[in-house]
Symmetry: C3
Subunit: 497 residues, 3 copies
């Protein structure tokens, strides 16, 4: 008898040792109860939008109440408020808990089968449980991505030049105004649109006619979306839809939706780096949802999130880098998106910068930085020192030092390759072969723009993340060199014209 009990216990042990992780976790934290309101949401939406309901059911939100989340040791907590309102503390974080917050701030609030619901849950709502993340994110360039395009005349001109609908007559191209829809599918798809409410509309669904808010510039989930409640950003840009998954947010694929070639080739370069190689080869054996994220144990090689935002510790819990949702805050230099590289800006709202040319750019066309708006040398040095701590988890000091010395050289030389293109451009402007009144509307000017937005960016990123193809033949030194020769000849041909 006793032996049989032992056998059963042993069998149970066997079973436990092989059960999928999520099953065990689900048992450990007895699932939180679902509020009455959320249950009534689920009852309908499980029928009419089963994928949405299933997605939520698979989420941590669906099985954890804020009270349970707060029981974890501080380092393991995924919640950053200690003061959760009583009515939210003890239920799973369900439909109603998120879609009912701050109704007075939400022009998108409407009555839906007896409850008042917001269509667009915003960072201002998420901060009920995650205030530190919302605050950090609010400071970031990401949160200001809408204004950083819209409120900067140079970039607005570029955007309008690209997206305006063209016609041609007599062999000449003419441009009409760009449509807001096209803006929302291109630049503002990543940067975020301004979502507004223009009254209500009646839609016909399986259950009959329903009256809902009529949203403009929707759908959109850009990182700098201006929400109907006036807040900036979309947490779902990285923690998608109704699973709000940290695993997905940590995957490079998430960052790779916007940070990809030709203008921001960081994802492409990561994929071809040694780090990316190890990630691709080994990722299935990693623990993607561990908090904190332990180097060498939960993951074997950096991903975007490791270097730029996650809380990283050793196996024994020593902190290597703290968590941040201000994604530029670990970086000292800014490699992309602008004519020349430069120290990171002090504020995420970069459109407020004015350089000595009077333009809202962090450097002049000749490369002089607008230093008053950029972080100091001391701040740069401190950030690099902190960053190297992460590199040295796996690499020797000489390796890490050598790597960043190489990056310094790549930055300097790629800026030089842009300056050469600017000099050719200036030559054409000076001889009336091109017109400087709009920086982006002639073929040669567009080639000049490719020199910095595509090729110099690629060279710098390729250096920063060790993906040599993008430094060489793929949009790197080869294209930067060839482009100069093509511009040179094009200007000669214009002269003959």
């Amino acid at each position: 008898m006793k032996r049989c009990v032992l056998t059963i216990m042993f069998s149970l042990f066997c079973l436990m040792s092989v059960l999928p992780r999520w099953m065990i976790e689900a048992q450990e934290t007895r699932p939180a109860t679902v509020s009455e309101q959320t249950q009534s949401c689920i009852n309908c939406h499980e029928l009419y939008s089963p994928g949405m309901a299933m997605d939520w059911r698979s989420s941590r939100h669906a099985r954890t109440s804020p009270a349970q989340a707060l029981e974890k040791p501080r380092l393991e907590q995924r919640i950053s408020s200690q003061a959760i309102p009583e009515d939210l503390r003890n239920h799973a974080v369900g439909c109603y808990e998120c879609h009912s917050l701050n109704p007075s701030l939400h022009p998108d609030n409407f009555e839906h089968f007896g409850e008042r619901i917001n269509v667009v849950v915003s960072p201002n709502d998420c901060q009920m449980c995650h205030p530190v993340e919302a605050l950090e994110y609010g400071e970031s360039k990401k949160a200001h991505a809408y204004g950083n395009l819209r409120n900067n005349p140079v970039y607005s001109t570029l955007v309008e030049g690209i997206l305006s609908l063209k016609t041609a007559a007599n062999g000449r191209v003419a441009a009409r105004k760009a449509s807001v829809v096209t803006e929302g599918e291109t630049c503002y798809n990543c940067h975020g649109t301004r979502v507004t409410v223009s009254g209500t509309k009646t839609i016909t669904v399986d259950m009959g006619d329903v009256e809902v808010p009529d949203l403009e510039n929707w759908p959109n989930q850009g990182v700098g979306r201006i929400n109907p409640d006036g807040s900036r950003g979309a947490c779902t840009a990285c923690h998608p839809r109704h699973s709000f998954s940290i695993e997905i947010a940590r995957q490079p694929y998430t960052c790779g939706q916007c940070h990809l070639e030709p203008d921001v080739p960081s994802y492409n370069i990561y994929k071809e780096s040694k780090h990316g190689n190890i990630f691709d080869s080994k990722k299935e054996s990693w623990t993607w949802d561990a908090v904190p994220w332990r180097v060498g144990y939960d993951f074997k090689t950096p991903t975007c999130a490791v270097c730029h935002n996650s809380l990283v510790t050793s196996l024994t819990g020593e902190q290597i880098l703290p968590r941040t949702h201000d994604f530029g805050s670990r970086l000292w230099t800014r490699l992309f998106g602008l004519i020349y590289s430069h120290p990171q800006p002090k504020s995420g709202a970069t459109y407020s910068i004015i350089n000595s040319d009077g333009l809202p750019l962090p450097t002049t066309l000749a490369g002089e930085p607008a230093s008053a708006y950029l972080i100091s040398q001391e701040e740069q040095a401190g950030r690099q020192t902190d960053f190297k701590r992460l590199c040295r988890s796996c690499h020797g000091s000489s390796w890490a030092d050598g790597h960043f010395a190489q990056l310094d050289s790549a930055i300097m030389e790629s800026d030089g390759m842009v300056l050469a293109a600017t000099q050719l451009m200036q030559h054409a402007w000076d001889r009336d072969l091109a017109d400087p009144s709009n920086l982006f509307d002639e073929a040669v000017e567009q080639m000049w723009m490719e020199q910095w937005l595509f090729y110099a960016n690629s060279i710098r990123y390729a250096s920063a993340m060790a993906g040599p193809d993008y430094a060489g033949f793929k949009n790197g030194w080869w294209e930067a060199t060839h482009n100069l020769k093509v511009i040179e000849d094009h200007v000669r041909f214009l002269k003959d014209d």
Copy 2:
């Protein structure tokens, strides 16, 4: 004693709960017996082509007889004939069962160690068990992909222009005839070659000399392959080689073999969309071989197959979309491959279209549609309504409606960007700076072709599948705009010439 029995049963339960899925399935459906003829195939080929034999052994065909397949509930059936001949009913679907069918239709039939065998198994053979799939597929543009190139003079000119072997003398390029081999490795690799039999040949293999049919334009597995038996298509294009795997067919990688940039960038755009991001992050936890395929449960986000062909239901079995192997039949508009977008054609054999210019194209060079050959507005509206049912599994109605309204705008505006290029081209033709007799053989004409085949396509796909990079800087609006300026200058330089 009784307790021990219970313990054993419990242990067995433990075991069952953790055994790999395929082991359990293999036990559930006691493996089907292998026919005598197939066994003799295996006996040799296991020695001389072990990878081939192993591939088949891992297949569902190897462990299931048609009779067993028919025992499943209707919704779960992967077989669409109820009338399987007696001699095929009760054996596993092995080498002989497939390679011996319809011998009189097969010029590639030959005697091989005592049996008569066809080299090329065709859709006409597969329809023995899968008639609905073969019929649907036969109606599709895919099945007509060979003729849609070969029998369309405009496309034939394009193909010949690209693939003809070039020489140069006196600074001028001249073209010789393109070779069929090069055709078979480029356009017709995806579209399919015409496989013919030109007698027999003797080959030397490990077992000695063997006489086999001598196939022309082989190997090929293009979707519109013309098989020796005259049938159209290759099921192995998507269900590859001897595992005939539904899992592989459902992976976006399969579609991505042909549908990729620069001309058909749907795979590339999927990979950078939010759907692709979730796929890449979570695919390992999905059930790839479930029939029906249950939204939110078996898979978390659409793949190509979800939207374009699989039988999709809710967890409780409500059908969201029925299965189809006519891959265009869920679509209302056609985004790619042609100068302007247009309603889906009524027939998969698009070379039979004649527009008002007298060209076999669904629109004129000015954009006027050949409406008689295209589906009606009612049909378009109905297809979109059906399609949205799938979107609404996971998204609200406003989201889905807004998404397709954005697509309508992208279609209209990208067509406008093509028209502008056509106007520049017409300008050059009108002034004898280019020669309209061949649409594709001059540098400026080729730039015009890139405007629609690469850039306008990218913009539309990027809108349809929400991958903003391809709408913006990667072959999208940026290239479409820059290309117009480059064409404009090129025509000016030609004038001076």
Copy 3:
């Protein structure tokens, strides 16, 4: 009682049948003991570089002594020396075992907390246990990749032309000397840098100041790296860092770090081939670390390593291809990196070739091969016959023969497309529209270079590996054809200049 014992045994069996593979293996081979010196390395580095220590702990080296490795059946051995020195035989292969070898050959040897340590472990050190691999690799073009660029004047000119820092004045581009750092981040990142020691330096780490060798051109892990000890190559290029993983080395991602578009698009083409499709769809179920690697059983479709270097057998152990670390030795023809394709060179040190133009290239500018330096037709035929044995594991003989006949055609025709570009170039040179003294420094010459380095390469690779997009619109026939027309017009415009 007896029944209970049986039950326990059965439970144990259940357990064993489901335990992860690595757990079982770890039990089978009781972990080797760690040497005293390695233990003291670990004691510190576990604190200060936890990722590094963890990486090693996860390695086969960490749990296996050479003596244990030699106990395996010959075909399963991963070690190729039978004569391991006594002091290395019975310990795990740890930090000290590798970083202390051949100190007198290492200018990078230094005293580090009481032990003498080499910074850079080289192939000459690895050959202590892996002499066959080191020898084979030493013969390869990979091992000579540094000299094959640096010692070849044509390539040196190309490298310098691309990487030299440019300025512009009066509308003309001028070039200064390229920096060694930029060389190390581009061409020489893959080819390898020459790592030298210039004295020592003091660095400040967590434990205080430490004196270490001061390395130049470091970090680098290029395949042809010249190490401080004078040896050539970096095993870590493919078996990365401290896990030395065969699994990672076998993944296509590893090869894809350097072999990717636009100049060597083999990785990109693999990914879009049917082989790549099956790999992407099924790789999670393969056994990536099996030695030998059994076709159809451990893996389902070739990867780079299968075709180019791994020991491949059938399930029953019949050898299909032997292992090699001379990666070109299975190949008969050389498809990339040079103006025309040609038979594989006899020696990995290709800079020693002299063609009949007197240039260090395997063909003349007109395409005539330097046959004395290239393998014979018999050798080519023999290698192809061996290679096809692998193809025939999964494909019929007609399929394999047809495939390579197609490749022969693609090679011939792509060489023709290069010849046409050379003829246009010659035309410009003959008329003083371009200057032949440097082959790569004018816009039209650079377009000529793209014809062979990008487009002809893509066409050949796409044929070899069956990825039709790269044969067609993506850097293939389309670009090769369009490029000829663009060169033709450009030369005309130069004439008018």
